[in-house]
Every structure is written in C-alpha cells, then in structure tokens.
Amino acid sequence: MEKLLEVKNLEVGFQTYGGYVQAVRGVSFDVNRGETLAIVGESGSGKSVTTQAIMKLIPMPPGEIRNGQILLDGEDLVPKTSKQMEKILGQDVSMIFQDPMTSLNPTMRVGAQITEVILKHNNVSKETANKKAIELLELVGIPRAEERVRQYPHQFSGGMRQRVMIAIALAANPKLLIADEPTTALDVTIQAQILELMKSIKKEVGSSIIFITHDLGVVANVADRVAVMYAGQIVEIGTVDEIFYDPRHPYTWGLMASMPSLETVDEGQLEAIPGTPPDLTNPPKGDAFAPRNPYALQIDYEEEPPMFQVSPTHFAKTWLLHPEAPRIDPPEAVLKNRRKLAGTFEKPVMVMEV
C-alpha cells in the first residue's frame, strides 16, 4: 500500500499563561491511500492538536511546531508558509470539525460557503460551481438542494449542518479528509446517519480519512487502523483487529474494559480508568500513564518506554513488552475478547521508529 501521509516525530507546544504546554510529544504514524485511520484517546490527549498541525491550523503564537516532519505525498508541510498552504488546504487535505452549530458562517448562504472552496481550487465559472454545490448537497443527502443552497445555516438542523460541512470538505476532492469528532455533538440517531454517510462517501470518493473519536463503537465501525493517544503520544497503533482483539498497552486495556462490550452489553463490566491525565506543562518522568496504571513497573517511573513491535502493523509503547518484564495478563474484560491473530511475532521487537 502506498503511503499518502507520513508524520514523523511531531512535537507541538503552546506558550501559555501557566507555562509551556507540550501538547504533542513525538508522534509518528502514517496513513495509506484510501485507508481510514481512527485516533482515540482521552480529552486533552492531543488528538485535535495533532491533526490541526497537519493542516497547519495551530494558532501561532501561542502554538509552535517544535519538531518533526509532516510528509504529504512525500512533501514536507512543516516548513511551508501559510501562503503555500492555501493551495493544499481544502484541495489536498480538508477537515470536518466537531460542532456543526459553530463551524459554518452564520451570515453567509450555505451555497456560497460551498462554492467558495470550489472557486478557490478549480478554475471554473460561478454557474459550474453552483451546480457542483447542489450536486454535493445531494450527495450528502440533503433534500431540495436547489432551495437549500440559498438558505442560511440557522435554517438547518445540527445533523443537516454537519452534512453541509461534509459537502464543503468534499468540494475539491481532497486526498485526505480529517474528521475531528464529527458526530460527538449530534444525537445518537443522527450520529449513525452521519457515520453511514461518511462510509458511503469514502467508498465513492476514495479519499483517506483520519477519524478522531472518543467512541470505540464508531472506531470498530469505520476504521481500518487505530492509533491510541495518551498525554500527547501515540501509545499503541495497529489494525482494528489488533487493537480490539489483542491490545498490548495497559491504557488500551483500560479503554477496552471501559467500553460497553461489543457483544455483551453488561453493566457490571463498565469500568472507567481511575485518575486524571498528567499536566502537560510538566509531563512526568518515565511513562506518563504509570501513575494510573495498576500494572506499572518500577522502570515506568524512571524511564520512558520505547516502542515495541508485535506484528508488521502493530506497535505499542510499554515496558510490559520488554523481555525482562513479568508476564501480565490483561484484565478479564479484555482477555475475554482476545484472539490469536495471524502475523503476530513470536516475541515483541524493540524499535526506534514506527
């Protein structure tokens, strides 16, 4: 498979009143063409900052990309100026935000908000752009599109607005679509509809998608691969099957255990991970998750764990995979679902980079 996006050792920080926030601390991953990568993790773990860094939408100042590379089709975006980014944004990479109620301009007609992108990136006439806008609205399932293009956002419901946002994001046929919790602000039935829409669109358009969510049910539904973030780092990354059926990082265990089980909806098994995420102005020494980790080793408090590879596609950043670490079984809720997957190595291999 061909790599569309490669993020290498990305570090992003913010200078704030309370100190320097290390929001993203050395994140590496890649996205293949036509693939959907889900990013999951607690609030504040740096999911949005990572993806906004890809689009160079981090407000600078106070933010800065301190280190790392973001290669899109082999071309590094980090050194690009905002002028140079204009050609890439909307055209090669586009984004759907969390809250459809606020992400559309309230005083601009919906049609104009779509044609704006088309006109910017394609050399077409206004009429052509208008026609395309109506087609897009139809594509995302908005009835009476011809009328709707002349309306304002407040005349649309939340779900409908998110469809409009998707239409905007698709307007210039992007290679990569980033969806930052596109369903979180919607109610459950609408969530399902939007997810279905995104899945069918992915089939039709064929762009790669980075999908940020808190909802593991959604992940299982849409993703090909999953990255788990904690405190500004990717702690585990692998295919959906690997993450769901053979998770290796204790934080992922916690996430899986806290999920109402896919098959058995059993109240008794719902566990939240106790404790709070670390303060990123002053990240702890060693493994950031150790203080909340019931299986934490002595070394977790002393030294940051390296990445271990457990299969050609599966990586986890925990000392538990070290040959000298004691054998520890994941909690019951995870063990129950565990499957032996083909391709898993005999022994985890320590690696420098993904």
């Binding site: 944004l89 055209q91 586009s94 606020t102 992400s103 301009n105 601009m108 910017k120 905007i168």
Partner: protein
C-alpha cells in the same frame, strides 16, 4: 420579524412621549418662562404664544394642543424673537448640521473600523498596542478640547486650514475631525473586540481549512460578522454626533442647528429650547429605530434573537 419591529416602534414611541411630556412640564417650572401669568412680553410675541399654546387655557388643554401640533410637525414660535418659529430655525440650521454630522460619522466609521480591524489582525503586536493607546486617548479627549487643539495647531500655528466659519470644504475638516474623535475611538475598540471574538469562532477555522487567503477570510468572513455590534452602535453614535455638534458648531462659528440651540439656551428662549429638544429626540429615536431595522435586515439570524433583544 414584524412583531419585533412593532415592539421596537412601540418603545420608541413611549420614550418620545416621555420626552415631550417631560420637556413640556419642566419648561413650565423654569423661572421666567412664558407659561407663567405675570410675564412681560412684547404684545406680538404674546399673541403668537397665545395662538400657539393657548396660554389662557388650562394646562391640560395646552398639553394636548402641543402634542397635536408636534404630530403635525409644528414646533411653535420663538419666545424671544418675533416672527421666528422653531420650524424656521430647524430648516435653516439643520442642513448645515446634517452635512457636518454625516462627514463626522463617515470619518469615525471609516477610520474606526480600519483601526479596529488592524488591531485585531495584529493582536498583541505593536499595531494593536498603538491603535488601542490611540483609542483610549481619543476617548479621553472630549470633542471640545480636540476642537481647540486642532484650531490651535492647524489654524492658528500652522495656518493651513481656516479657523472658523462655514464656506468651503476646507472649513468642514477641522470641525468634522473634532466631532469624530471620540466616536472614532469607540468604534475602533468595539471593532477590535468584536473582531477578536469573531476570529476565535470555529467558522474562521473552517474558512482557513478551505485554503482561503488571509485577505478573503478577513473581509468575507470576519469583518462582515464583526460589523454587527458596530451597526448597533450607530444609534448612540448619532446621539453623540448631535450633542457634540452643539459645542463644536459654537467653537467653529458654524451656523447649524447646534449653535442655534446653544444660543437659545444662553438667551433662555424657552420655546425654542423645547422645540429643538423635541426635534432632536425624534431624530435620534428614529435613527435608532432605523438602525434596528438595518440590523434585522443584514443579520439573517435576527428572527431567532428577536425575543431576546426585545426584552
């Protein structure tokens, strides 16, 4: 929408009624006013006043007659100068004041918005700090002091512009600038904070994610939305321009309604004071009402907010 404007209109009407009533009865309390019985007036003026206010009638008859006349756009005679009516004074002075006022409003809006937008775009940079220091100084220098300062520098010392009078465009520059200073500073601050608020909105991020250029985002998405509070400031702005014009016209010797009004205050020409006050109030309340309508027309969300704003 209709209901909203109806409500606004009703409140405007009530405010106006309070003003007219208050002025009418307050004038009767004033020492040496024409409405007391032991007055010493030239017979012609006395006849005029009698015809207009019916001074021999009981007060409530006089009051309702006055309301009726206002409704027919008749503000009554002068109490000091025979043969002159308030309507004459208004039609003579108001066009001059209007020209001055419009020039000042134009300056205040154009420069104020420009400064505010710049300050917001360069938030926490020197452009921001210098605009905001300029604005806070502008707010702290009252228009009449600004007028004296401009006169002293440009007319007396540098002699590049005329000191006073009202003959050519050059004569309008200093008074319009003096009149515009304070509202300009207010608009700059208002625009800045409103721009900052708008720029922090998600839809600006959406616009950036579309790959639009900074210029397009600023003009099409940010400034347009940031103008809403500035539009609603147009009401108070016209009030400031009107009251400011009293002193500015006097300082620059401009024959507008403002300086006529000041003269009538100094002469204690009660009926003129009363008439011009009512005229100004109608003008102001009307302009506030019109601003409301404009606001409703340019903001497509107004229907949603109608009940909230009307409260």
């Amino acid at each position: 929408m209709i209901k909203y404007f109806g409500k606004r209109f009703f409140y405007m009407f009530l405010s106006l009624l309070v003003i007219i009533t208050a002025t009418f009865f307050l004038m009767r309390l004033a020492p040496g006013n024409p409405f007391t019985s032991e007055k010493q007036l030239p017979p012609e003026i006395e006849a005029n006043l009698n015809a207009h206010y019916g001074l021999d009638q009981p007060w409530y008859v006089q009051y309702f007659d006055y309301l009726k006349r206002i409704a027919t756009w008749d503000f009554g005679p002068s109490f000091k100068y025979k043969g002159q009516t308030v309507n004459d004074i208004i039609s003579e002075g108001f066009p001059v004041s209007l020209a001055l006022g419009i020039e000042a409003i134009f300056i205040a809006l154009a420069l104020g918005v420009l400064l505010g937008v710049l300050a917001a775009l360069y938030h926490n940079k020197w452009q921001d700090y210098s605009s905001m220091i300029f604005a806070v100084v502008g707010i702290s220098v009252p228009s009449f002091i600004m007028a004296a300062l401009l006169q002293y520098i440009f007319a007396i010392k540098l002699q590049v512009l005329p000191v006073a009078r009202w003959d050519s465009f050059a004569h309008t520059i200093l008074p319009a600038l003096a009149l515009a200073t304070t509202p300009l500073a207010f608009i700059a601050r208002l625009t800045r904070s409103s721009m900052l608020e708008v720029l922090s909105n998600d839809y600006i991020k959406t616009a950036k994610a579309k790959g639009l250029s900074r210029g397009v985002i600023t003009v099409k998405h940010a400034v347009r939305n940031a103008m809403m509070p500035v539009v609603s400031y147009l009401g108070p702005l016209s009030a400031g321009i009107i009251t400011g014009s009293f002193v500015i016209e006097k300082i620059f010797g401009i024959p507008g309604l403002g300086s006529h009004f000041v003269t009538s205050i100094q002469n204690r020409d009660y009926t003129v004071i009363m008439g011009v006050t009512v005229f100004y109030s109608i003008l102001l309340l009307l302009s506030i009402f019109i601003v409301d309508i404009i606001y409703g027309l340019i903001d497509p969300r107004i229907k949603l907010r109608a009940h909230k704003k009307g409260a």
